[in-house]
């Protein structure tokens, strides 16, 4: 469904990993005329390099006026909103700043888009955290599933607010194609999130008696979906996940880690424990995820985009390879140990049989 390709694309949050890479990819596509990356601060050296020369960077204040003028000046036809903080950063104002950026930032951006007549397409990054995770939820969430409980944890609530603003925006600007992409956690070679750091721990804490089902999406596929959302017209809300499921215990074993089950003394206790392990940024909704798990249906994405992300097990395997995990208890070692044990048993049996034969023959 390739329709008119927007000539000018504005990408927010280019200071971050996801924003920088999506902007760079769009700039590298010859079909896209101009890519403008905006953020409240310039990206660091490595991401600045990733942005390259194709992306024009514009520093904006959080205020509405400047956003509006940037959209008007550039004549932006598509806006990709990726400036979301997934976890509070204590150095940059903590949870209050995170909420300011996520909720107020989205509100302002959508208000600016509403007043920019040239904008035809808005793509907003969301998260499957919107579904929450509880024991009363169905096993598989479709885009239409309502969360049984309001999810705990800041990020999930921010996501609900953000999606609420997008719904309001759709009502006010029905001519604009608004795409909401609910991503599961990213994995990939360069991805550095709380979750990837978690699997890099030598000893991985898990919740005793709980083996949540997890899903991941490979970062390359996430970029591809975002890219297509800009170039093609896909209105609506879509789950973006690698098909298939991997349980936490499976993931831990495939990453060659050792799981340490922790008793579930009320979830805040578990969160405190996780914090004590030096894993800042694991919020309550992520603790819920680690207890109950979350799986989403990707039928709508596959049929609408004609694109299937690589499966969750594949994406995770790629992550394990890239991070050279799996060395502690690697597949090869276990297979070698298995052969050794099997050979040992066979030799022992053979020897036993021979000695038995030997004992029998003289008699």
């Amino acid at each position: 469904m390739v329709t008119d390709i927007p000539r000018t694309v504005v990408v927010t949050g280019v200071r971050r990993f996801l924003g920088a890479h999506v902007a760079a990819r769009l700039a590298a596509d010859p079909r896209v005329g101009r890519v403008v990356g905006i953020d409240t601060a310039a990206p660091g050296d490595d991401l600045g390099a990733a942005l390259g020369d194709g992306v024009e960077f514009v520093r904006v204040d959080p205020g509405l006026a400047q956003l509006r003028s940037v959209l008007a000046d550039t004549g932006a036809e598509a806006v990709v909103h990726l400036a979301l903080a997934t976890a509070p950063d204590p150095q940059a104002g903590g949870r209050a700043a995170m909420k300011e950026q996520n909720v107020i930032g989205t509100m302002r951006l959508l208000a600016a888009c509403q007043q920019a007549p040239a904008v035809r397409r808005v793509v907003v990054r969301s998260s499957t955290a919107a579904y929450g995770a509880s024991f009363r939820d169905p096993a598989v969430f479709t885009e239409d599933t309502q969360a049984r409980e309001v999810p705990r944890g800041g990020f999930a609530r921010d996501i609900l607010d953000i999606e609420g603003y997008v719904r309001g925006f759709r009502r006010r600007r029905p001519d604009v194609c608004a795409t909401v992409l609910r991503f599961v956690p990213f994995v990939g070679a360069q991805v550095d999130t709380a979750l990837t750091r978690y699997f890099a721990l030598p000893v991985v804490p898990t919740v005793l008696g709980r083996d949540p089902r997890l899903q991941f999406v490979h970062i390359d596929d996430a970029w591809e979906v975002l890219h297509r959302s800009v170039l093609e017209e896909h209105s609506g809300t879509f789950n973006v996940a690698g098909p298939g499921v991997i349980t936490l215990s499976q993931a831990v074993r495939r990453a060659g880690r050792v799981a340490v089950p922790v008793v579930e003394l009320g979830l805040s206790g578990a969160a405190a424990f996780v914090k004590a392990l030096g894993m800042r940024g694991l919020s309550l909704d992520q603790v819920d995820l680690f207890v109950h798990g979350r799986v989403v249906d990707t039928t709508r994405l596959t049929t609408e985009y004609g694109f299937t992300p690589r499966s969750t097990p594949e994406a995770f395997a790629d992550f394990v390879r890239a991070h050279e995990l799996g060395s502690l208890l690697g597949m090869g070692r276990v297979a070698a140990a298995e052969r050794a044990v099997l050979d040992g048993i066979r030799r022992a049996r053979l020897a036993g049989k021979r000695s038995l034969d030997g004992a029998r023959r003289p008699s």
Partner: protein, 399 residues
């Protein structure tokens, strides 16, 4: 189609008695059936009456002829029947004839399990079993196995969970299954059964019965309480269960699975001993609407025997409230004997699957409450009648 009259239901019973593996089952089965036939035709009959056909079956001698089935010895060789996660470390090396004979439907012996050939001349059964167990252990250790989106782990279920449950059903409860031909060999069906026994052991036994008869996995729908409790939630998902809600039920049925549901819920499982074999209310009939939405046949199933395993005589409500459970059971042995009171009584179990009820004629009225209630009633009535029939075949619960 629809409601089978009592006589047509009786017909398959005598035919289906043949494949029953229990040793003393065959002989005893033949005796009560002629007596039971006219009795069930005349409607509800007294449970204790047909005992006349079994002359000398007091509770004591009944256990006698089967020495291996004394309550303790049967459980003895399998001490880890409980849901201990530790059993994973000890894979299916247990001498279960079935699991050894059937080389697992899932991923077969791994590549590393190929016998060398030159070390041991003939690759005997013992060698294959060791190699299979080691390959299984390796796959578990390295996470090299598949789970579906509901968290179902077919390998673990076939190689660990089912082999642990099977002796409980076949030897300890002397379980007999009839009417298995009513379960489809492939494609979806909704198995609706009665629920009883204080603890949901009947659910686990039903999965064994279905798997043994059809080699298919029964995907159970469980109460949310199951998914709130740590270890149990995990075991339930790994053995194929999921939350009893319409999205999950319909998703499973659309995937062509065999789904099992107990519409009585806690009303059934937590009823008192003197209410035994009286079906409780069937809730809102959510299972019927799931079947109608997906055009799936409903297979009513009657389970007899689960009522006697933990005769519920009381309920400590304050304790239940404290633990957040629907009831806190008091049985003749629990909590008086402590953990020993958790050992189920060795009742005799009969499971019968009834002819399927086609739901496609009602597909258009999937949300019509009248249709749903009528169908739910029909299923309920079928199960109740089948229970009465089975009770006549089994006059003594501990025979």
């Amino acid at each position: 189609m629809a409601r089978g009259d009592p006589r047509s239901e009786l017909a398959p019973v005598s035919a289906a008695d043949l494949p029953v593996p229990s040793r003393n089952g065959q002989r005893r089965m033949a005796e009560p059936s002629p007596a039971a036939e006219p009795a069930s035709g005349s409607g509800p009959a007294d449970i204790s009456r047909p005992a006349v056909t079994e002359p000398a079956v007091g509770p004591e001698p009944a256990v006698g002829p089967e020495p291996a089935v004394g309550p303790e010895p049967a459980v003895g060789p399998e001490p880890a029947v409980g849901p201990e996660p530790a059993v994973i470390a000890e894979p299916a090396t247990g001498p279960e004839p079935r699991s050894a004979a059937e080389p697992a439907v899932g991923p077969g012996p791994g590549p590393a399990a190929e016998p060398d050939g030159e070390l041991v001349g003939e690759s005997d059964a013992w060698d294959r079993r060791v190699a299979g167990a080691l390959a299984f252990l390796r796959r578990r250790l390295t996470g090299d196995y598949e789970v579906d989106e509901f968290g179902f782990d077919p390998e673990l279920t076939e190689r660990v969970i089912q082999p642990l449950l099977r002796p409980l059903f076949r030897r300890y409860f002397r379980g007999e299954v009839t009417g298995a031909e009513h379960l489809p060999a492939h494609g979806p069906a909704l198995v609706v059964a009665n629920h009883s026994g204080t603890l949901p052991i009947d659910a686990a036994m039903l999965t064994v019965a279905v798997h043994d008869e059809t080699a298919r996995h029964l995907r159970l729908l469980g109460a949310d309480l199951v998914f709130r409790i740590p270890v149990f939630s995990d075991l339930a998902r790994k053995s194929g269960g999921t939350l009893a809600c319409n999205p999950d039920a319909e998703r499973l049925l659309r995937n062509g699975e065999l789904v099992g549901v107990f519409p009585e819920g806690f009303k059934g499982i937590g009823k008192r001993y003197w209410q035994r074999y009286q079906l409780q209310r069937f809730g809102r009939g959510g299972f019927v609407s799931a079947a109608l939405h997906t055009g799936t046949p409903i297979v009513p199933a009657a389970i007899v025997g689960a009522e006697e395993i933990y005769p519920l005589i009381g309920d400590l409500k304050p304790l239940a409230r404290l633990l957040g459970t629907p009831y806190f059971p008091v049985t003749p042995t629990f909590p008086w004997l402590g953990p020993l009171g958790m050992v189920p009584l060795p009742s005799k179990w009969l499971v019968e699957f009834c002819p399927p009820i086609d739901t496609t004629p009602y597909a258009d009225s999937a949300d019509d409450p009248i249709v749903i209630f009528n169908l739910a009633d029909q299923v309920r009535e079928t199960i109740q009648q089948t229970i009465r029939k089975l009770l006549k075949r089994r006059p003594d619960p501990f025979a």
